[in-house]
Amino acid sequence: MTQADPEQSISKVAADTAVVAHEWQQVPGVPTQPASESILRKRFRKFRRIRRGYWSFLLILGLYLASFLCPYLMNGTAWLVRYEGQFYLPTFTYYQASTFGQELFGEPDYRALKEQFEKENAGNWVLMPLYPYGPNEALLDLPGSPPHAPSWEHPLGTDDRGRDILVRLAYGFNISLTFALLVLLIADGTGVMIGAALGFFGGKLDLLGQRFIEIWSSLPFLYTIIIISSVVVPVYIPGRMQVLQPSFWLLIVILAAFEWMAITYYIRGEFYREKSRDYVAAAIVTGVSQPAIMFRHILPNSMTPLISFAPFTIVANIGALVALDFLGFGLPAPTPSWGELIGQGMENLTKWWLVFFPLGALFSTLLLVVFIGEAVREAFDPKEYSRLR
């Protein structure tokens, strides 16, 4: 089957261990194969066969890794400067503008320096990154007032502070994805711990935990996050300075605090079921410690929901971050962000590039992740539909 059934991915998929059991069943009398392939590898092979998902995965992975090079590929700081017979590496060391004989305070303007050196033609040169603009650099020397329309020099235009949009989108991609992955990691970590404890120990702990989760998950999600982040938005009150600044990490923790419940339900269910299997009984009899039973024996058998939900959680996380940034409750101000750009676009409706380009970035990223998720789900949790005729 080359074209996997795309849409089941979207509906929440219950983990189906019956399928797992099936793959291990062997027909009596048929000679067994020499070495059995691990189920994880089998599933990975299946994932690779679903081409759309696999290619999306490679593409996103490649782009994400490349985006870590943004500071070196897209920046206003030069790679290498040759000045008066000496080499300088401004990417790694900070130089005063006066170092290169430029009459400026603070950081040198490397683009101007490059032009100047080229004009002088005195053996000095500047090697700029491929795209010589920084993410927080206000390009106020461009003709006209700040939101500049796309041009050859700035293919996606600039935002309302004259910062290059292409650069900000690229940095924003890295930040959004890093953010989503970290939230996923923390939320899943917490969810697995709590879910495992509830499912494994059961009893009163389980009852109490479930009540707590019910209350916690009934809180309106974005609404509460906005209340909390609005607390943390710096409010300047005389005599009482702000204790907490809104930050990347704070936002991650807040979002994770609202997300761990989803996976907890599934892990709890998995542990509840796996607990009664023979291999667990065998482990108990041989005297394996409880944490080892939980995390070395049961957990690897309960990974299906964890993995098959992950891409969709990432979609949700990126969506939440963009929404929060759009509303102004997201990452602190100069951070390159897609949502903030869309928010700017809403205030300048005639400046279409402020809305379309970040939306395009958001949209294509989410689409790729959804493709991955659909393929992962297909590989990990196949559902065959048979139909007469």
Binding site: Q3, D5, P6, E7, Q8, I10, S11, R211, E214, I215, S218, L219, P220, L222, Y223, T224, I226, I227, I228, S230, V231, V235, I237, P238, G239, R240, Q242, V315, G319, V322, A323, F326, L327, I342, G345, M346, L349, T350, K351, W352, V355, F356, L359, L362, F363, L366, L367, V370, F371, E374, Y385, S386, R387, L388, R389
Partner: protein, 345 residues
């Protein structure tokens, strides 16, 4: 089964208290609340007055207010009591259907919220009905023609719908069709035109449709993907069941098998979603309402948080969380009603 639902109803009480208590605690300890706001206003007024009197005489950096004035403001907003007493009083008032007065507008919270109901219900109901009217037939068609070109193309649409958040689509639509730099087909926002009262009936209808078109599309994008797929998968699953095989085997027409036998059963998962119809319709989406500048419940809640108008924010929380908790139970009731195999204990 009655005892099950009575127990569920009783469990709403502690959950409700838990939810409101959590939010109440947060609002109590938030800096920049009404007391600080009022103090700041008074300080600014005092400082401004003095500065005018001294006219360039250096100006003192801070102006201190008399202690008893501060105390009075605290008392006015109820902040002189410890938090548990405040919460108890608030809860007691809520039980008497009194949500308090807005800090900003000074009107009763209930009146403010009530005034937003028509907008939210109108918008929410339209979006809700339209999305069911589109998604159910589409899902059925996709299931019947599973694997066909139609299925493949519409799946693409579903993917697109799932990948773009409704409010974000709204911003693009506004720029494209709202008269920014492209076409000016639809108004920029708002629920109704300003001259609504003077319009004739026909004009009212067209104006309303013009104003609703884009927001409703954004509402629908949110449920489009999930609802269509739920319908499709549910029908696919039923088509693989033995009773469908039996129906075919005894020689029934394919149409009859699909639309009479299988479809009825596959509507069950969709029916359970109806329990949340009230919270969907009322709560709306503050993101979409904000993008289109519509004064619904969602936008009211958003504004009340920004302005630290906590009685309004808490009032909306009370209504939305009650609707959600009761909606959960209603879903189960519907589930038990439409599916006789389901018995709750």
């Amino acid at each position: 089964m009655a005892t099950y639902f009575i127990r569920r109803l009783l469990l709403v009480i502690p959950t409700f208290i838990g939810i409101t208590m959590a939010v109440f605690l947060i609002t109590h300890f938030v800096p920049g609340g009404p007391v600080e706001r009022q103090l700041m206003r008074m300080r600014a007024a005092a400082a401004g007055g003095e500065a005018a009197a001294m006219s360039g005489g250096g100006g003192r950096p801070t102006v201190s207010l008399p202690e008893d004035a501060v105390e009075e403001i605290r008392r006015y907003y109820g902040f002189d009591k410890p938090v548990h007493v405040r919460y108890g009083e608030w809860l007691w008032n809520v039980l008497h259907l009194d949500l308090g007065n807005s800090y900003i507008y000074q009107d009763p919270v209930w009146d403010i919220i009530k005034s937003r109901f028509p907008v939210s219900i109108f918008l929410g109901l339209t979006g809700f009905l339209l999305s069911y009217l589109i998604c159910v037939p589409l899902g059925v068609l996709k299931a019947i023609r599973h694997g066909s070109r139609f299925d493949f193309i519409s799946s693409g649409l579903v993917f697109l719908g799932y990948s773009v958040p409704g409010w974000a689509l709204g911003t693009a639509l506004l720029v494209l069709l709202g008269g920014g730099s492209f076409w000016s087909v639809f108004p920029l926002g708002g629920f109704r035109p300003d001259n609504w009262e003077y319009l004739g009936f026909f004009d009212k209808v067209t104006a309303q449709i013009e104003h609703m078109f884009l927001p409703v599309i954004c509402y629908m994008v949110g449920s489009f993907a999930t609802l269509t797929i739920l319908m499709k998968n549910s029908l696919m699953e039923n088509l693989g069941q033995d009773y469908v095989r039996t129906a075919f085997a005894k020689g029934l027409d394919e149409r009859r098998v699909i639309f009479v036998h299988a479809l009825r059963n596959s509507l069950i998962p969709l029916a359970t979603g109806l329990g949340h119809v009230f919270s969907l319709i009322l709560a709306g989406s503050f993101l979409i309402e904000r993008v289109f500048n519509i004064d619904g419940m969602g936008y009211l809640g958003y504004q009340s948080i920004i302005q630290r108008d906590y009685p309004v924010a808490l009032g909306i929380l009370v209504i939305s969380s009650l609707l959600m908790l009761l909606g959960n139970i209603l879903s189960d009731v519907i589930y038990a009603l439409v599916d006789p195999r389901i018995r709750f204990k």
